[in-house]
Symmetry: C2
Subunit: 338 residues, 2 copies
DNA sequence: TTGAAAGCGCTAACAG
DNA sequence: CTGTTAGCGCTTTCAA
């Protein structure tokens, strides 16, 4: 293996073109005050040498990078994917490029201190601003702007785009109650996450409001994953008096409930109605009744907000609320028994 | 405009701890030759100031970055998403983090010269190696290793993971022919892409091998998108003698064919069989018969290869072939008419 | 065990 | 129009 092939630098280009580095830098940055002839020569040399400016060195000097950062714990997670679709679209429409930073795993990065680390990593050096998905920290030290999508903290000290989790849960419960369900199971989300709590609260309040007593045995913990949903689904279905409908705190767990129902030989929705939350791509194809959090739009809006902040334009509000939307699909029906 | 809030640097930390920058640098890099007492003090100051080292400056000096780069034109595209799932997983299992670079749009980055640009951008400065998805260039100037996933070029001069496009197409055609189909439409992929050509060739050869004459009017152009698939699907279904089955060069177009069939009031698969290629997430839920390119595994393997290259270990071969797999699902059946 | 100083590759005054 | 020069924040010899 060739021992550390040094890459071609601006110096090499300068030397090869018989000019100084600053002249090369000028053509690199599209400055106008360069003789056409010199310009052409340098461009030629750059092409011949296959030179590309060193991003690190460049961003160290100049403050404008034309780059947006995105910090996500896990880019393979359906939830993250939906948000990234929207972010991607907004980026495509802008003149900025996107740099996504991920550790590939929630575990590797869960701690709030890590988030701060990643944000600084990008914002202090490479990017003009960052978007952080599902942030745990309630505050960030950063010199460039930051926007959070669906932060875990209730009242973060930075701009964010948030869904209406509570109202979404109310909506879906009202819908189930309207169908006649009175015995509705709930699979919780990760407890440390604020939005999961809001959904649970919506579940409780809707029942209370409808005069239905909350049966604590119908509320089981969960972790936002499909295997977790399956397991908890089986647990609920094993109850002496099993629910006629199950509300899972997110679509991923709801998919697990589908699996559980199938294993038990139950038909959906005749024997069991299933509802979820988030409207990930799979939900649509499974016919899952769900609350659309409009994740892609949240990502899209986050980019818009961030671009405004970068340009020092005012934003409408610190918190952009994205209204949720009830999507009724085939996983839901009236209860077969009272 | 707030006058450019400078972020806290190693200098600040040094000053605040009453030591020199080199000492701070030492504790930052876990060097052992620092007095425990000094070490503790500095760590404290770092925490208090919320200092994070500047990635740009750091990577400019040291050569090990613990960062893998990924260049994708569009992270919202289902095809890219599948690959990223595998990459994400491999990253999660490694000690490396991932930096994804995207322009958000194929248009903004299509030219091969741009790819070179992005690769250098990452590899010359920030990352220890890069993975490039669907690369067009047949060669790259780079000092750090590079691995391509499903490159467009036939014989690229860099390591790559490739699917068996030709054999996959043969498999699916043999399957259709075995069901009795003789009148099979084909919707092409983007013509400049090598794998699209291989799939078409498989279509042709399978027919020829089976003694069925290739009807050129059944072969229509395409662009790998769902709207494109729909349009071309409608076109094929408008033929005087429409096909009994349609093979779309990828799943996204196949989904468009679904839509076309629906618009025409055709039942799938009774009136029309539809097959695709790639096995994106939607394919599974739609019941689409498809060739599984095992995209996630391709991404996973690509990371493995890259890590070996980074560590200067030998790789098995320049090209890692990922065998495709026929997945028979409900979008496919015997022809209703001869 | 620590500090001083030399750059990494680049941009941005400032001169000419 | 072009070159010289001073750093950006950091790591890394080399001395002390």
């Amino acid at each position: 293996m060739p021992p550390k092939k040094r890459s071609v630098t601006i110096q090499d280009v300068a030397k090869a073109s018989g000019v100084s580095v600053s002249t090369v830098s000028r053509v690199l940055n599209g400055k106008v005050d360069v003789a056409d002839e010199t310009q052409a020569r340098i461009v030629g040399v750059i092409a011949k040498l296959g030179y590309t400016s060193n991003l690190a060195a460049r961003s160290m000097r100049s403050h404008k990078k034309n780059l947006i950062g995105l910090v996500v714990p896990d880019i393979g997670f359906p939830y993250s994917i939906e948000i990234m679709k929207g972010i991607n679209q907004a980026i495509a429409e802008s003149t900025y490029d996107l740099l996504v930073y991920t550790t590939g795993d929630v575990q590797k990065s869960e701690a709030a201190s890590h988030e701060q680390h990643y944000v600084s990593l990008l914002n202090n050096s490479l990017t003009d601003g960052v978007i952080i998905v599902a942030s745990a920290a309630s505050d960030f030290i950063t010199n460039a702007p930051i926007v959070a999508v669906d932060p875990h903290a209730l009242k973060p000290n930075y701009p964010s785009v948030q869904g209406t989790n509570y109202h979404g849960a109310l909506d879906i419960m009202d819908y189930l109650l309207g169908l006649g369900h009175r015995h509705i199971g709930f699979i919780c989300g990760r407890p440390e996450i604020n939005s999961a709590g809001r959904r649970l609260q919506g579940y409780r309040d809707a029942l209370t409001r409808a005069g239905v007593e909350v049966d604590e045995s119908l509320i089981v913990p969960g972790d936002f994953t499909t295997p977790g949903g399956r397991e908890r689904g089986l647990q609920l279905l094993s109850l002496a008096n099993p629910p006629t409908a199950i509300f899972a705190a997110n679509d991923q767990s709801a998919i697990g409930v589908f699996q559980a129902a199938e294993e038990r030989g139950l038909r959906v929705p005749q024997d069991l109605s299933i509802v979820g939350f988030d409207n990930i791509t799979e939900a649509k194809y499974l016919g899952l009744t769900t609350i659309d959090q409009r994740l892609a739009e949240m990502g899209y809006v986050a980019v818009q907000m961030l671009l405004k902040l970068i340009k020092n334009e005012p934003i409408d509000a610190l918190v952009h609320k994205m209204p949720t939307q009830l999507l009724v699909r085939s996983s839901c029906g009236a209860p077969s028994r009272p």
